[in-house]
Symmetry: C2
Subunit: 236 residues, 2 copies
């Protein structure tokens, strides 16, 4: 349910600075929510995406943008937070869970979002997960998001006092092509977004990790050109 | 289900260093689990409890004790993480959610425990929540814990691969008196634990916050003496 015209309805939005969450931000702003954006510095090797998150937050005039430091490197278990190699040119439809999976990442992110929602008085949390492109990530599936929402409605003071919390994941069943088409309609400037798992220090995308290749394939299918810079000759 | 004799069964245990989680640790060790303890430095004013957690972890020979820095002060919303006053001599059975409630705290703690369980290969997570003494905290209720467990079983690689995860909250329906009696049977040295929400820098308990008074009442009902030091004349 979108807010009524003229009504200020605060929402917490998980903003990585990537293509999906920036499209999500444009969508939630268009729907009339007052956005409290939440990003994480979690030891990811692609911290350049936080700069993209800052740019998006500024561009869309969010009410507040909080960057929380959490150290998932302590736990290990993912090449995204370690010195392992990010897989290059992997078949995009390979079965199983990719090495880039970070244990319980979305559960941790959503748990913080829940705390942030509680203190800002928000009843709405937006997350840009996508079940099609990341079918190997268990915490991107619709049944996971629904289950988190049920849990969240037992977890908080707000819920105990009868304010129902909704987790919005409007991109969850969309193909990358559809997300890009939606974003272009909404006027998203994709030059400002960062998706690469293994970018150069200046932000240049590698063009060979899963994230780059899903993105490039999405742009190709949408008949559009990806405006970000890639190193060498990207594949998709 | 306890581990078979001789079988090493790793478990993640949330250890605050308080009375409940130290009793929980003694219980899980007695049941034969190999413990991976997890504590948090979360901006709590009672950080002296982390020293108690370290002592308990050493005493019980845990396989690993991880102390994770998370900054819940960023969010605010609780006197435990702010400069607000911890309520003194409040009626213990007052209805409603106390000012010491920290938004989404157990959800954040359990989310980290889930990540830790995934990388250590543990299928068991122990949490010392108690629904009777903390009936005002929504995230201490049995239905909340059950809902988190259902969510967790959709969230992780382990779950996707068929390893079922169990959240153990064996103290959840026990009175403080019963927890203390159990701990004394297990040989817990309660002098080493710290429960106070507002201790002096040297660790002396205030004797007037909810946590002190629940603890003192529990010891009185168990016919035992609380060995920790209190400032002045505690009430219960």
């Amino acid at each position: 349910m979108n807010p009524e015209p003229g009504q200020i309805r605060p929402a917490v939005l998980l903003l990585s600075g990537g293509l999906d969450s920036t499209t999500l931000l444009a969508l939630a702003v268009r729907q009339g929510y007052q956005i409290h954006a939440l990003s994480f510095r979690y030891g990811q090797r692609h911290a350049v995406e936080l700069e993209a998150a800052r740019r998006a937050a500024a561009r869309y005039g969010v009410a507040r943008h909080l960057i929380v430091d959490i150290d998932l490197r302590t736990f290990g278990g993912s090449v995204l937070t370690s010195h392992g190699e990010v897989p290059r040119d992997r078949p995009l439809d390979a079965p199983g869970i990719p090495a880039t999976y970070v244990p319980a990442r979305n559960t941790i992110f959503l748990a913080y979002a829940l705390a942030f929602a509680e203190v800002t008085g928000a009843s709405d949390i937006f997350i840009g997960v996508n079940a099609l492109d990341y079918s190997g990530y268990p915490d991107c599936r619709p049944e996971y998001i629904e289950s988190f929402e049920r849990m969240a409605n037992l977890a908080t003071r707000a819920a105990a006092e009868g304010r129902r919390l909704v987790i919005h994941a409007p991109l969850i069943r969309m193909a990358k092509r559809e997300i890009i088409e939606l974003g272009l309609q909404l006027g998203v400037d994709y030059a400002d977004t960062s998706s690469c798992y293994d970018p150069a220090p200046d932000g240049t995308a590698c063009g060979h990790c899963d994230a780059c290749r899903l993105r490039l394939r999405g742009f190709a299918e949408a008949g559009a050109t990806d405006p970000v810079r890639y190193a060498g000759h990207p594949t998709h």
